[in-house]
């Protein structure tokens, strides 16, 4: 029921923003710079046992610490997803009912606040030794999440590069990030996207 992507995206987008106080936890977590706004490109490869070939998509994303997340797929077919504190909007339409994404909102906000301790409220976090950079494995503490995703693996160096979600029944989603930058302000178009869904909110 819960989409692994939600947690995944969150983790990913949170990454460059968090500045971690090593003293807060006994796990040596990577320290990354905190930023209000993050912008970048993504490639998603989704594999399921019943599919003959993986589903590949690519596009751009924006994270604003106050407004939320914009996930914009350009290829193979354009679509947008906006996640704000007020809800989830697909192509500008508010998604009511069971959206696993909205149920993951607390996870999102915990991560984007830049407080590493919050991550451990939702996941068991383990670090893995790697040659270059770092790798973290997250397993959800929320039992309703655990059905949908077994583990989330994050890896990167200065920035997060890759997120892999392993689903329980053989599904696997891999997200790769590129061209990450931190503008001072949102461009007008992105601002408008957030404002439109703000108005659509009840």
């Amino acid at each position: 029921m819960i989409r692994p992507g939600a947690a995944l995206m969150l983790v990913v987008l949170w990454w460059p923003l968090a500045s971690l106080a090593a003293g807060d936890t006994d796990i040596p977590l990577p320290e990354l710079d905190a930023h209000d706004i993050t912008r970048g490109e993504f490639t998603q490869i989704r594999q399921l046992p019943e599919l003959t070939r993986p589903l590949r998509s690519s596009g751009r994303f924006v994270h604003d610490v106050d407004r939320g997340i914009l996930w914009q797929v350009d290829e193979p077919a354009p679509s947008t997803l906006v996640i704000t504190p007020g809800g989830l909007y697909r192509n500008g339409e508010r998604q009511s009912g069971a959206s696993p994404m909205t149920t993951l909102r607390p996870v999102f906000r915990a991560l984007f606040s830049g407080d590493m301790a919050r991550l451990q409220d939702h996941f068991e976090v383990t670090t893995k030794a790697v040659d270059v950079g770092w790798e973290l494995e997250l397993s959800p503490r929320d039992s309703s999440l655990a059905d949908a995703l077994a583990t989330i693996t994050l890896s990167g160096d200065e920035y997060p590069h890759k997120v892999v979600i392993e689903e329980g029944e053989g599904g696997r989603t891999e997200l790769r990030f590129a061209a990450i930058e931190h503008p001072e302000t949102l461009d007008e178009q992105t601002q408008q996207v957030f404002e439109r869904v703000g108005k659509a909110a009840p």
Binding site: G5, R46, L51, A77, P78, A98, P106, R118
Partner: protein, 777 residues
């Protein structure tokens, strides 16, 4: 009646009342606090009654405890600790912490067998109007963030039709489950990261016991202190908590009001008679009244409402009049018990007849609580009266003291001028009366509990039990079709923001007609080739694709209502009321109503056959308004009846003079409520009835007293008025708005009745303006 007969009658009567009371208490009679027991009964629609019960019954014993903290883990561990505390208290029969959604998810999975005929209503519309675009959107979604997954695998439901059908059932206010505890995210409400863990606890029977210090309330207080120490927030709601608070508050008020009244009576009697005997006799009279009132009401109704007990304390106020009247007569020189009875009996008889008639006229009102008050008061008064007439002459000794003399300077003014002047002063106040007929005024609850209830209601998106749409039809299929017809209208109201959400069984149980249409739509997806090309674009394995195509184009299997009900979410199941001999019924609930939502919903219901908009609380307030008017008429009727009775016995002129006392007192009371802007509702009318009863008593006692007895009669009504004002004036400080209004109404009326009774003496005594000289105390 001979003295011997009286001697045996009274203990017999009391013993009988005592046995009845004990039997009723033994058979589990309990104090009723349910608000709805106070509602007008009237010709209730059985469908509406059943519907309301279905919605509210699960909540009768349920309490909800929310522990809040800045992280889900903290909130959950606090809730686990709280669960242990609740469990240790022994007050709860069941405490739910672990949430296991597995059985529910399995039940939903089983519905997959009918996936061909199960479509979300919106998807059915989209597939009819523009299947190409619909399928295109589904494909796009698969490329979205982490794609679309659900309870079933992609191969079983490649288009996501079944997942989308299930989606309203998956909607849950519980954001997550952490450490087995349901966690609600309240960050949006609080503008900071904040989570609540939700604990459901069902109260055991014992927690309902009426007491001044209910254990549930004590537990609540302890929990609040514990939460403050632990630095978490605690919110609690649930009918049992409100009941416990109401019961404690009422018990405290009864104790306080009864206690002060008794103290005043004790002090007055000791001061006046200088002997404990009259005191004991008065207490016996009051006790007999309460015992008789309790026994009779329990015998008639089987249970008593909290409000009845509070208002029933009125018995003390009136029954003490009878005792004082007789006892004060004993202050006359050369008094004997039999003489005393002869002196006061005419006044007492008239007073009892008029009071009982006045209180019983309340029983005409179709409010169960008013009827209980009527029976409690009338029977209590009869018991007190019999005690005065049967028992007191046997036990009263001539007093050693004498009645004081009284002087009222305004006595030289003609009665009719006093009346006219009072009327002129009161008239503007009567026009300033502002009626408020709101059932919530009956309920006292501390602000914290009310605030908690609102917060929890918002967080958990609780369904209101007090309003809903009731759909009825002759059979199940028509019932479903009528709901289907209603859906577009509801959707339009939601889009116009008249309401935030609605829930109808038909959203997850399509009618046979709709299932037929759904099957046609899904098989068309196969025959048009849309499904095939979609699955090819997605890259679904060929075996999977062929299996799915075969499933979707096979001859459809219909999902029977009973099977569907077993599988769907309880939130939908509880809205299905089922069928009886008359009709099949279901509810549609609406949430988050806007200001103009009600007329819109009423209009929508009017457009569809078998559809009815029900607003229970609105109906109740309407009922209270009607019964306020009705009670005014009843009050006038009671006064007319009293006048007629008095006219027969005393002559019209005297009857008018006597009755003008309560009438003026009622006017003064109403005018003061009007001037002060105090609450005015049907329950003020009950205070006015008491004023009428007491006013008639005072006027009659004074009027019927012979020339020599006037001084003792004056003393009797002065003492009676003093104690009653002291006792009921305290009601003004009650936590319950209506009870407080009762007190505010009562006090000026009682003072006026007392003064006016002394002024409105019969004309033959006018002239000297003072009571004939006798040795003073």
């Amino acid at each position: 009646m001979s003295a011997r007969l009286r001697r045996s009658l009274w203990p017999g009567l009391m013993a009988l009342a005592g046995v009845v009371l004990l039997m009723q208490l033994g058979s589990g009679a309990r104090l009723q606090t349910d608000l709805h027991a106070l509602l007008p009964d009237g010709p209730g629609d059985p469908g509406v009654v059943a519907a309301r019960q279905q919605l509210t019954e699960p909540f009768a014993r349920a309490t909800l405890w929310l522990t809040g903290a800045r992280s889900p883990g903290e909130a959950a561990s606090a809730a686990h600790e709280l669960a242990t505390r609740l469990d240790d208290s022994g007050l709860f029969s069941e405490i739910h912490t672990e949430i296991d959604s597995t059985p529910m998810r399995e039940a939903w999975r089983e519905l997959l067998a009918w996936q061909q005929v199960l479509l979300a209503p919106a998807d059915a519309r989209a597939l009819r109007d523009d299947p190409e675009t619909f399928v295109q959107h589904r494909l796009t979604e698969q490329y979205g963030l982490a794609g679309e997954t659900g309870i079933v695998r992609l191969a079983e439901d490649p288009l996501g039709l079944f997942r989308r059908y299930l989606s309203p059932m998956l909607e849950s206010p519980g954001a997550a489950v952490v450490d087995g505890m349901m966690i609600v995210d309240a960050s949006a409400e609080r503008d900071e990261e904040y989570y609540f863990a939700v604990l459901h606890a069902s109260v055991a029977e014992a927690a309902f016991a009426v007491s001044m210090d209910p254990p549930l309330l004590a537990l609540w207080q302890e929990a609040i202190e514990w939460a403050a120490q632990e630095n978490i927030t605690l919110h609690v709601t649930g009918a049992p908590v409100f009941t416990a608070w109401g019961s404690a508050s009422a018990s405290r008020e009864i104790t306080l009001i009864g206690g002060v009244s008794l103290l005043a009576i004790v002090a007055l009697l000791l001061w006046r008679f200088r002997s404990p005997r009259p005191l004991l006799l008065t207490l016996t009279v009051i006790g007999a009244g309460l015992l008789g009132g309790l026994a009779t009401s329990l015998l008639v109704f089987g249970q008593l409402h909290l409000i009845t007990l509070v208002f029933g304390a009125t018995v003390i106020g009136v029954s003490v009049d009878y005792a004082f009247h007789y006892l004060c007569d004993s202050l006359r020189p050369d008094w004997t018990p039999q003489q005393g009875l002869r002196h006061v009996l005419p006044g007492l008889r008239l007073a009892l007849v008029t009071s009982v008639l006045a209180f019983l006229s309340l029983a005409i009102a179709p409010f169960p609580a008013l009827r209980q008050v009527a029976v409690f008061t009338a029977s209590g008064l009869i018991f007190s009266w019999l005690t005065v007439v049967w028992l007191l002459p046997l036990l009263t000794r001539p007093a050693r003291a004498a009645a004081p003399r009284m002087r009222l300077p305004v006595r030289r003014i003609r009665w009719v001028w006093i009346c006219l002047a009072l009327m002129a002063a009161c008239l503007p106040g009567l026009f300033m009366l502002e009626a408020r007929d709101d059932i919530h005024l009956l309920y006292a609850a501390p602000e914290r509990l009310l605030a908690d209830d609102r917060l929890i209601g918002d967080l958990l998106q609780r369904t209101e039990g007090s309003y809903f749409i009731l759909v009825s039809a002759a059979d199940e299929e028509t019932l479903l079709q009528r709901q289907e017809a209603l859906l577009p209208g509801l959707e339009a109201l939601r889009e116009e923001q008249h309401l935030q959400a609605y829930r109808a069984p038909v959203q997850v149980i399509p009618s046979r007609r709709q299932q037929t249409e759904n099957a046609a739509l899904t098989s068309q997806l196969v025959s048009s080739g849309l499904l095939t090309s979609y699955m090819a674009q997605l890259g679904l394995g060929e075996d999977h694709a062929r299996t799915h195509e075969a499933r979707m184009s096979a001859p459809p299997q219909w999902l029977p209502v009973e099977t569907a009900l077993r599988h769907v979410d309880p939130r939908y199941r509880q809205l299905w009321l089922g069928c009886d001999d008359e009709a099949c019924r279901a509810l549609v609930t609406v949430q988050g109503l806007g200001d103009d939502a009600e007329p819109a919903l009423e209009a929508l219901a009017a457009e569809h056959p078998g559809v009815q908009w029900v607003n229970y609380v609105g109906d109740i307030s309407q009922g209270m308004r009607e019964h306020r008017r009705l009670s005014l008429v009843l009050l006038a009727l009671a006064l007319v009846v009293a006048t007629a009775v008095l006219a027969l016995l005393l002559g019209l002129r005297q009857a008018l003079r006597v009755i003008s006392v309560p009438v003026m007192a009622i006017m003064v009371s109403l005018a003061i409520v009007g001037y002060s802007g105090a609450l005015f509702s049907v329950f003020n009318l009950m205070a006015l009835l008491l004023i009428a009863g007491v006013g008639i008593d005072y006027a009659l006692f004074y009027h019927c007293a012979d020339r020599d007895g006037r001084r003792s009669a004056g003393l009797a009504i002065t003492m009676a008025a003093t104690t009653t004002v002291l006792a009921f004036g305290l009601l003004a400080f009650s936590n319950t708005p209506v009870i407080s209004a009762f007190g505010i109404t009562l006090v000026p009326g009682l003072v006026a009745a007392w003064l006016l009774a002394l002024l409105a003496r019969p004309p033959e005594a006018s002239g000297t303006g003072e009571i004939p000289d006798e040795p003073s105390v």
